[in-house]
Amino acid sequence: MISIVNLNKSYATPSGTLAALRDINLTVNKGDIYGIIGFSGAGKSTLVRCLNRLEEPDSGSVFIEDREITRLSTKELRQARKKIGMIFQQFNLFDAKTVFKNVAFPLEVAGYPKERIRQRVLEILELVELSDKAESYPAQLSGGQKQRVGIARALANEPDVLLSDEATSSLDPKTTYAILDLLRDINRKLNLSIILITHEMDVVRHICNSVAVLENGRIIESGSVQSVFENPSQETTRLFTRGMGDGPFVERLARVAAPDNIPGLAALQNLAVSA
């Protein structure tokens, strides 16, 4: 079970202080797949990175399984991080290591004996269906395979929670769903809590059971996916849920919004057309 209490984070920029997170309060139950959705710049990545203190919050607390993450010393934090898995949009695999060695890395860091590491790596590679790629290098894999390695690596130490920072945002739709299905599978098999950051509502719809909508650093709406979808109370939420239909995100967005209420939409549309 994960709780976030009154979390705040700002950045100093040349043009003044930017409040990235304002009074965030959130609870994730054990075994939940919790989605956090918002437009770019809403603070989603900052939020998930505060959970394992890759970003240091300015104030507030983060509790993961009754451990107050925000109060841990550097050494204790390292220990705690071993039980928090994280996957990234750009995969962040170690190109100099084989798939096997990538997945073994967190176990080596934790100091397990070689034989134990071998067993665990093979076990986990089977879970993500990549057993035949153990001796391949990341450059030889497709995007979906790379993310599977990322997932395997994040799960190696049997974490209590998996943080997913836009992990499917650079994958094509078919691969995205394959990865989401894998995550849902793992969630069921291991009762692993997952916190998933995304800007795509389809992702949330596909596997999340709860969702929070983030805008300008604040949670403007949260609840079960079903209730938020059926009764969006905020305009931004409605933008995500209503009448979006199919097609590239920008097109769908354009159907429900106008350039003057989404800054940058016109520029986005031009980009999409010329891409």
């Binding site: 220990q79 071993k82 928090i84 994280m86 990234f88 100099a96 290098y137 990341p138 030889q140 690596r153």
Partner: protein, 221 residues
């Protein structure tokens, strides 16, 4: 071509190789930790320590600004202290390594900075210690540029040894000055330059080959 040419060249080459190998090892010993420290003390990196970063950077810059020949002269007392003399190949290793170490540090810093920050973050997110990140992520991921960087340093050190040769350190550079220049021995001049060219070519080729070998297994099939 006089008959003392081969023995002279053999001795000169031996001294040059001795100076290059020893200086490279010592400057690696000094420069590698310095280069790593420059990278990890940078703001936002794993040992985020802006003051240390600035101090190290300044020290490196100062040494880099001193022309080699002046550095050699300045280091003579230190050489005398460490080696017992200020003459000869071993003594020359002192100023050569101290001159090359900051250069090597910058090259290593540059190679390590090329490693994607995301990989460092992934390692941090798994609870790795700074030493583990340096030794198991930063350095292995940067191995090819590191090899090429060290190759560049070795070649630079080779040219430093020629300068050192001008002030009594021995080696091929010394031969070129004492025989080729001062005694008008064209054959010596020509031969020493030819050997140095072959040597440098060989070092560069080896470095490139090693770097290529490192990458070839990991490429897309």
């Amino acid at each position: 071509m006089q008959e003392d040419l081969i023995p002279l060249l053999a001795e000169g080459l031996g001294e040059t190789l001795y100076m290059v190998v020893l200086s490279t090892l010592v400057s690696l010993f000094l420069g590698l930790p310095l280069g790593v420290a420059l990278v990890v003390s940078a703001p936002g990196h794993i040992l985020d320590s802006p003051r240390l970063h600035r101090v190290l950077g300044a020290v490196v810059n100062v040494f880099r600004s001193i022309p080699t020949i002046i550095l050699i002269v300045l280091m003579l007392p230190l050489a005398r202290f460490l080696v017992g003399t200020s003459l000869g190949a071993t003594a020359a290793v002192v100023p050569l390594s101290i001159g090359a170490a900051p250069f090597l540090a910058r090259i290593i810093e540059s190679a390590l900075k090329e490693v994607d920050r995301g990989k460092v973050e992934a390692a941090l997110s798994m609870g790795a210690t700074p030493w583990q990140i340096i030794g198991r992520v930063l350095i292995p991921e940067a191995m090819a540029p590191l090899v090429l960087g060290v190759t560049l340093a070795i070649i630079t050190i080779t040219s430093f040894t020629a300068t050192a040769g001008a002030i009594g350190a021995g080696g091929l550079g010394s031969l070129a000055v004492r025989y080729g220049y001062l005694r008008y021995r064209d054959d010596v001049m020509f031969a020493t330059v030819a050997i140095l060219i072959v040597m440098v070519q060989g070092i560069q080729w080896s470095g490139n080959a090693i770097a290529r070998r490192i990458n070839v297994n990991r490429q897309k099939l």
